[in-house]
Symmetry: C2
Subunit: 359 residues, 2 copies
Amino acid sequence: MTGPLIIALDAMGGDFGPAVVVPGAGISAVRHPGIRYIMFGDEAAIRAEVDKQPSLAGRVEIVHTTHVISSDAKPSQAIRRGKGSSMWLALEAVREGRAAVAVSAGNTGALMALYRLLLKPLGDIERPAIAAIWPTVRAESIVLDVGANIGASSKQLCDFALLGSGMARALFHIERPSVGLLNVGVEEIKGADEVKEAHALLRGAQGLPFDYHGYVEGDDIGAGTVDVIVVEGFAGNIALKTAEGTARQIGTWLREAMTGSTLSKMGALLAQGGFRALKRKMDPRRVNGGTFLGHNGVAIKSHGGTDALGFASAVDLGYDMASQGLIERLAADLKAFHGTLQVPLPAPPSAAADGARGS
Amino acid sequence: MTGPLIIALDAMGGDFGPAVVVPGAGISAVRHPGIRYIMFGDEAAIRAEVDKQPSLAGRVEIVHTTHVISSDAKPSQAIRRGKGSSMWLALEAVREGRAAVAVSAGNTGALMALYRLLLKPLGDIERPAIAAIWPTVRAESIVLDVGANIGASSKQLCDFALLGSGMARALFHIERPSVGLLNVGVEEIKGADEVKEAHALLRGAQGLPFDYHGYVEGDDIGAGTVDVIVVEGFAGNIALKTAEGTARQIGTWLREAMTGSTLSKMGALLAQGGFRALKRKMDPRRVNGGTFLGHNGVAIKSHGGTDALGFASAVDLGYDMASQGLIERLAADLKAFHGTLQVPLPAPPSAAADGARGS
């Protein structure tokens, strides 16, 4: 908050590159006078866009590169051949402390691979997660993992609980966020073994920096039952996409219903203020941005197809987390946290925190 | 269609027992003149309700029992102590051919346990699935498994594809339903190994009784991209509940938006015909009923808290499937199907079809 906060942008990421990234950065620059940018990519293309944004005057450093990771590159290709690309350089700026957070609308898999490659794990975190902000009837919740990994051990689920609660604290300013484990409702099958184990671990742990609520089900997400929902990445990704699809489906039905008769059309016209309010709530650009958590730095993945307003949401998200000192808090939480979890762990990690950097 | 079709009802299941089950049966009896019922449960309570329903006159046989499986009974308890209960007797009637389908609003876990205990697997099906009917912008799709099991092998996912396509054929009258495997979108992690294996099996199979579409994502469900969506039960249950929660959430937002100002209220009043149409589309009672598939008989699980209209949907569903000869078709499909899958199976089952009745 005091002094500038520098955000590294992969200016070439996404479907539109600088034509969306730069205007998006301009919108966030108006909202947050403390923001400065380092933009990585084609200097001429970036410069042309920057010059159109008065809010960016004197606040942008451009680092030229023509190397871009393509949207269909595999993670392994990104690792082998991505050095010097706009995405790589943005993450490197975070690693070297020249930027507080990196934002990219590029290839998710490549970004995750480079995030893991270039930034060190926090504490004994085995795997990073992607956290999504989920609008609810109460406010907003955080759901993780929405697709960084397939499957998660009980230890990893506990890690996600901690990472998510740290993010909730930074973003929602809730001192003790409530955390739920996503599970299925049928009593007798009650989830995979890892989920049951994580439940037992969290129930038994003392001194957690959050309130463990217990199991939640899919419909608890939209209801806002808890601040943080923990789930492994396969089911988490499916839940997220299914909710997006359901929202789109109901939007279609609503439009059909409001254009089905002259009376409905007139009514919809009269109620247009209400519909605008609804549309704002359902606007996916409002909560654009998957947050990569677990390594020593924050990276935000914007939707590749979003517009400047959507990209600005992703930048805002990164700004909020960095300005709240998320990483420092997470590092401190992790230290305290794993002490509390050691006892009941079925197979406690034998290596020291620093040695457990696997994947 | 010709001649009566007998439906076995667990009259004591659900939150309200005969007070909902019997009026629900009455509604379906009006819609389907061929329906007859055997109702299992407390004779006096059932009789009192039946007497209120003119449509049921002369079409109900009551089998008295006071033994009821409680809503919190564990599956193991249902198996050990459920004999002679209303739920048990309803499934037994299906096994013995006295009824074409059983419908219960009772405990899901108990019903699944008894379904597996009392009815034999079809062909070499290893595990039954629960299939849900999912309203989409196109029409309706079938999603399975929505919670019978946690996890599924590639072979089991292929089985679900077959079971779901058979159900789609019987219910939607589509000769070759399209089938998709639910997966996550990020290219490089592309799902669990079982999902990848099932994908390879289905891609390579010849002569399938459905069109294998390939992977779909969560937002394809509501879009109606395919007729049948295959997923293991943990993620499937979470997807279903998440969609229900999202629909409820948007309904809340819509109500708020339409009552936020006088103009909006007036508009909503004018457009009430449109809102009614929307409400009908979103009414969960319209698609009430999880279908248990995979053993030699159909059982339908109604929501426990539904009303008579919702229970009637579950009965209608059972009627449709039985009157279309679903089980006979599935048995025939399974025979043909597993021939086509043998070749590319990574570990082909060594036992004959009948010997593979596991778990």
